[in-house]
Symmetry: none
Subunit: 180 residues, 4 copies
């Protein structure tokens, strides 16, 4: 994921990957039938990290607002500790949706688990009268993921002036206002 995140899908060659993994080129093919399937595995892994973070939070018995705060915190921690996970996701998966186009309908098969947890969170907030009832799901979804995504992008561009984690409360606030 580090390589993919840094160099993009096409500039990450199998020989490079092999070197970084201290494996031979051929041996990679003993584990993944193709470069694409390797990338898909990584997408599943990355989206799984986000999904399970949000899943744990969704299970807690706290307000939706607090859930937003916890998730933003988790997310920024990931950005700080393993930026490759998120950057890989943004850069390889989202920016190349067509390559990853799954056989079936227009869903996000590979990121499905995460999308579902977001749905759970949003509905929870609505049910508890914290998020506005009538806001379209896609807009709420865009608020939550868009703000985090754009911020991740800025972090990757190294233009932030403070430490990533320190923006946590303010970001959560802004997202919350966008949903409430």
């Amino acid at each position: 994921m580090k390589l993919f995140a840094r160099k993009g899908f096409y500039h990450t060659t199998i020989p490079l990957l092999a070197k970084e993994l201290k494996m031979s080129v051929g041996n990679i093919y003993n584990y993944f039938p193709s470069k694409m399937s390797l990338a898909k595995s990584a997408v599943r892994f990355a989206s799984g990290i986000l999904a399970s973070s949000l899943h744990r939070i969704n299970e807690k018995d706290i307000t939706a607002k607090e859930k937003i705060y916890l998730f933003v915190q988790d997310y920024l921690e990931i950005i700080q500790k393993s930026p490759e996970v998120i950057e890989f996701f943004l850069r390889v998966y989202l920016a190349n949706r067509d390559l990853f186009e799954e056989d079936e309908d227009g869903g996000f098969r590979l990121a499905e688990a995460f999308v579902q947890e977001v749905e759970v969170l949003l509905q929870y907030g609505i049910r508890h009268y914290e998020f506005r009832k009538n806001q379209d799901f896609f807009i709420s979804f865009s608020v939550l993921t868009g703000v985090l995504g754009a911020f991740t992008f800025l972090a990757g561009e190294n233009v932030l002036e403070k430490e990533v984690a320190s923006y946590s409360k303010e970001i959560a606030d802004a997202i919350y206002r966008g949903l409430a």
Copy 2:
């Protein structure tokens, strides 16, 4: 931009481009010295469209809130009429920042005009007591561009249930709350 937006930078081959443009491969090179320079021209063009839309709006003597509404409207219109412009921008430029890495400091040289107009808008809103004073610039920036970006992505995925333009007011509302 249509091809780039649909297939990404690497899958958009020069022969393909040539066919679409009804030009010969060689003749493309009479206008652009390389595939990259062609893409850069397109980035400049796309970012120019957004910048000039926002610029026109920034010049008006209306509230910041109204400016947000107008810009979201413009933006969605672009998404609807020429989705390639925005998708190209997201998919080719933002997702491959390293390829476009400009010689100079970490700025977005190619998209600078747009970024500057966003700054103008945000400061205007703060000066007029419509946007919250203390919110970090990068967060406000993420709110404005992130929500629109994520929504664009959803539109591109064809998962929206209504016509793109019809989301205009609601999106502008959400962004406004994120800034106010």
Copy 3:
């Protein structure tokens, strides 16, 4: 010839030639049916310069030794004043004989005039008991043209310490000893 001499046959493109000649690309083709034919014309011209210099000298009623001296003098003058003529000849014609391969037998069709004048000079020297009688023609030919050719090459490499023309007497001496 300047361009050909400096950049070789392949790196001398027609557009480049057109620019240097202040002509349009198309117009060059009004005078020469192909790049090759243009180069052949230049070869004929260059070899003609050498041939006519030697021809004039051959007509004089002086010793073979003096003829050698005069020719070396002429030759070095050409190298100094229009190095492109000789360098073009060496670099484009001799180094690409196959490209210039003429339809007929293995002769130097394009450089024939010059080769013939050399023959005249050598036979004159033998007839006048100045050059050794039994030395193979090809060896004498190699002495005369080889020494000048190698020297031209060194001149082109800019390794000489004195002005080209100043080597005249010494070179003629060496060639003469090689023939005598």
Copy 4:
């Protein structure tokens, strides 16, 4: 070297080379990073052959005249047995010096070893009062290499009437007289 010698640098394509080598195109690039580097390797090899022949001769305790004879003999043998080595050198390296232009000063980096051995030979001859003391180095160099070069050229043109090796004594004689 055979292909390069026969067709020149530009007409020797990688696919052609691959076929001749019974290798795939791609595999050539496992051994040489570029066509140029492959050619440079060959230049080093070819110049090494000449250099080591002359080096062995230079180490012998014989007269300079005998050294000339031995070297001419060696040289003609190479021309006869592996004409590609010398023709490659003349045709690809010398005729395209600019392509091979090395980073450093105007030296013949790739052919340095050979040039140095020539210097050793010439100085030896001068020290032993066999070669004339005051003849400029560049002229002596031109005599030695020029005569051999021109003769090689003639051999390549297939105009010689006798077997190459049979010219050995006569060529050495002529060179010797040019130096003495």
